[in-house]
Symmetry: C2
Subunit: 217 residues, 2 copies
DNA sequence: CAACGTTCTATTGTATACAATTATGATCCG
DNA sequence: CGGATCATAATTGTATACAATAGAACGTTG
């Protein structure tokens, strides 16, 4: 992507994800242009992309706002994500080579180390987690999956609750990943699919209980 | 959507789908602007949308071309579409009311009538078929599904081969739809899912054999 | 004072000019 | 003749000015 529209995309994205904007909040293109330091033209470009990822939504009157999803919709999102990531894992298991396995192990070692500390390193966890899933998606070698999945991951909710996951949850993620690697090494697509499904659905339920807790306060 | 960018979208889309452009053909924004009779700005907007539907693709050097997918990729597309449409049918089965059932029957009656003629009316078939699937998608009530699925249906290939489907294939579509309606009426999500899966996969194999035939010539 | 209509303002949409980038083709040298 | 290098042309990217549209504020009138 081009320079200005790319920086706009990144700045707006992190503005949303890092809590600069509350869900439901209205935004104007001009505000976003000011935030990203470019003109409205590339901003509109970036906004289109973010609309596709469903981080931004357009009201009936073309006004922009930060996405704000109901519990049911988030439930549905996790279900779809589990379907698609499981499918990606299944395909990846048939296409994974030794080099990829080494990379996956390295990434997950970093992840495991980051969370097995008195004070877990969330940023490193998130980054390693993203790398791990991206590598699998890449090995799935499906342009369409690569297009569809990003619209489901990293909704605002994900980032916003990440530092509320318990250390046990984070450690379990690393364990899930280890089993995924084993399934890939065994070249067993069905195993990979099952582990991935379980992995995402576990994340969903961790997320739900955190949300429920937050709702009580 | 706005006027100019909307007309650009429609014109470019039908330009591609109705055979004005061959798969793989390169296009410039200026050409498209001329075709749609508006300036490049709204064209770029329309192009973004078509990129999301994966009717247009951008090369590494930002140049536009009409999508051209390999057999493997089309296979993968049908697999994903079957997954998502089956999921939509399952959800729809839980949310369908009597009014919707009446509408579905009316749509499918029109479809059936269109194909049960000496010379099947393809245009009417395509339109009724689209309406039928759209209504189900709408009843699934999942914003994300509504966003994801359109990127999978109506790839160039679909439209280009539609008038090559045999009359038996077209008639069978109507029969599949009837069984879907029965599943909806029975409020049986699993049944609906199974029928939809079978429906899409049948379409896939009909498509494959047509393609194979075409490749021989 | 409620409901309606009218102006005014804010916001998004479009066109155009120009900048940056990428492909193309010519030229030179080995 | 093959390949690298540079100039030129084609194409995409960005900024800005203006047009169209939606929203808000205000006043008028029954």
């Amino acid at each position: 992507m081009s320079r200005a529209s790319d920086t706009a995309y990144k700045k707006i994205r992190s503005f949303i994800l890092d809590g600069g904007a509350r869900p439901g909040m209205q935004l104007t293109e001009e505000q976003l242009a000011e935030i990203s330091g470019v003109s409205r033209t590339p901003v509109r470009d970036a906004v289109r992309r973010l609309e596709n990822e469903m981080l931004l939504v357009r009201s009936a009157s073309k006004r922009l706002s930060v996405a704000d999803w109901s519990d049911d919709e988030i439930d549905e999102m996790f279900t779809l994500r589990a379907m698609l990531e499981a499918h990606a894992a299944e395909r990846a298991a048939q296409r994974m080579d030794d080099e990829n396995l080494i990379q996956l192990r390295a990434i997950n070692d970093a992840l495991t180390e980051a969370v097995n500390q008195p004070e877990p390193d969330i940023a490193t966890f998130l980054d390693a987690n993203r790398q791990f899933h991206n590598l699998i998606l890449h090995r799935a070698q499906s342009p369409r999956l690569s297009k569809l999945l990003p619209a489901l991951v990293e909704q605002p909710v994900v980032r916003r609750t990440a530092n509320q996951y318990s250390q046990d949850d984070l450690i379990q993620s690393g364990v899930d990943h280890d089993e995924l690697i084993a399934a890939f090494a065994a070249k067993d697509p069905k195993w990979a699919r099952a582990v991935m499904t379980s992995h995402i659905r576990r994340a969903f339920h961790s997320f739900s209980s955190i949300s429920a807790q937050a709702a009580e306060n």
